[in-house]
Amino acid sequence: MHLRDLEKLAEKVVNLETSKIENEGCKRDSRCGCDNDCGCHDCSSQGCAHND
């Protein structure tokens, strides 16, 4: 099966990289909320390297 065949079967698609839900627009807000770190204990010791 090719991806496009799966997409035809799907009622809803959520892209977790962009948090975009098809036909619902982008759900991201102005704060990126992401970090260049593991999120584990003391992950905050790793700096965010985001450009935005």
Binding site: K12, K27, R31, C40
Partner: protein
């Protein structure tokens, strides 16, 4: 390219969830299509796990300065208590050498330079904190390089120091374990000071603040209430929940959390956060960023202790044999240079989920990423690099529940990257 497909029945009647982590896509279909959807699917999209771009093994553009091993609190679960470390402060010479090192590489690689201050309680080495921050900013400016500063603090400081942080540091994580009763119990009666500091920072620079909540057996049931409390007091904040690491210290086993309970309460907290514009996360909820390593160990982690040791994990600060696995060099003060141990660093580099056979076909592969190497080193000792998480089943279940939640509600209230 071929992509692995994970299928599981939705809690919603007659619905199927289809998760393709290498495409970051989650599909909801009719359950009756389950047999038609294969375990491997083809698409032109290439996938490569996200990782630090480096020119050489040690081309670090970020570092963590553990400014001091001293702390003004004695939290119930602190991993540093068990290490009986000498109280040491980082010197200006070590701090400046690390800054020069990362600015040089950031400039060469055209990357953002980032510096994180950690401890102990980093604000206890206040003079070096201020000097290092000023020096870092000046060097970044001179080299036309963007610089980012970050600190993790317990918030026990004067109002003037809190104001300085708000005005000079880009990202400030305050450790707060909830409202007064619970915070005071877990964190040495420090609620009033920590809360005041968080308020001072938030009033000046709201987007800079985030919270670290350590979850124990005592506060795990209260996660939705803690979320409500922090999100109401600090609208739009980010809250990072992590279960207490009882495996690191035997004397806090009674604080250990049932992981299933923790994950369930976490998911119950998401709509609370969403309703107030906050975001919550935990280490294995980062499902929107497919990396192949749990953290920066063997990748971006360049952490310097006051005694000059270079660590890949800031929890592994002891001088025992397990901590030594995560120490891959030292600062040679006379020559003002960093000396690296290739053999040890090569081992750390191999700590990826790709090298754990049992994780190969796991639904949580890209969110769990084989879980924390330091925890596994303590739990399993020899051969830990090949082991799955001690909480494997709970994490798999959580991943499915998280995907189910996202399929129904979207990602509002969640930080997933």
């Amino acid at each position: 390219m071929k992509h692995r497909v994970f299928k599981f029945k939705s809690a919603k009647e007659n619905k199927l969830l289809v998760w393709i982590p290498t495409l970051y896509n989650l599909y909801v279909t009719e359950l009756r299509y389950a047999k038609d959807i294969p375990c491997i699917i083809e698409d032109e999209t290439e996938f490569q796990a996200k990782k630090e771009i480096k020119e050489c093994l040690y081309s670090f553009s970020s570092c963590t300065l553990i400014l001091t091993t001293r702390c003004n609190l004695s939290c119930l679960y602190c991993y540093e208590k068990g290490n009986a470390l000498k109280h040491q402060n980082m010197t200006e010479k070590t701090a400046f050498a690390a800054i020069n090192y990362i600015i040089d590489w950031a400039t060469k690689l055209n990357k953002i330079a980032s510096i994180s201050f950690f401890g102990g309680e980093p604000t206890l080495n206040w003079i070096i904190l201020k000097k290092a921050t000023d020096y870092f900013k000046r060097k970044a400016l001179e080299n036309n390089c963007r610089g980012l500063t970050r600190i993790t603090t317990n918030g026990c400081m004067t109002i003037n120091k809190a104001k300085w942080l708000a005005n000079n540091i880009d990202n400030i994580t305050v450790s707060m374990d909830g409202y007064k009763e619970i915070h005071d119990w877990q964190r040495d009666n420090s609620f009033n000071l920590s809360f005041r500091t968080a308020k001072v920072i938030y009033d000046i620079m709201p987007p800079k603040i985030s919270f670290r909540v350590t979850v124990t057996e005592k506060n795990v049931q209260s996660l939705p209430m803690i979320t409500l409390f922090l999100a109401k007091e600090f609208p739009n904040c980010i809250i990072n929940f992590e279960p207490v690491e009882s495996s690191i210290r035997n004397d806090c086993l009674d604080l250990a959390v049932d992981y299933s309970l923790f994950f369930n309460r976490f998911l119950e907290s998401v709509p609370v956060a969403a309703s107030l514009g906050a975001k919550i996360r935990t280490s294995v909820s980062m499902i929107g960023s497919a990396k192949n390593r749990f953290c920066g160990i063997g990748d971006s982690n360049f952490m310097i202790l006051p005694d000059g040791r270079i660590l890949a994990c800031n929890r592994m600060i002891g001088e025992d044999s397990i901590s030594d696995i995560f120490c891959y060099g030292y600062f040679k003060e006379e020559e003002e240079e960093f000396v690296f141990d290739d053999k040890k660093y090569n081992f750390l580099q191999e700590l990826t989920v790709d090298n754990i056979q049992a994780c190969k076909d796991c639904v949580a592969r890209f969110s769990c990423r084989g879980d924390c190497p330091a925890t596994k080193a303590v739990v399993y000792k020899n051969g830990f690099e090949q082991k799955t998480s001690p909480y494997c089943k709970e994490i798999q279940e959580f991943t499915k529940n998280l995907l189910e939640y996202i399929a129904q509600n979207g990602t509002d209230g969640l930080a997933i990257k």
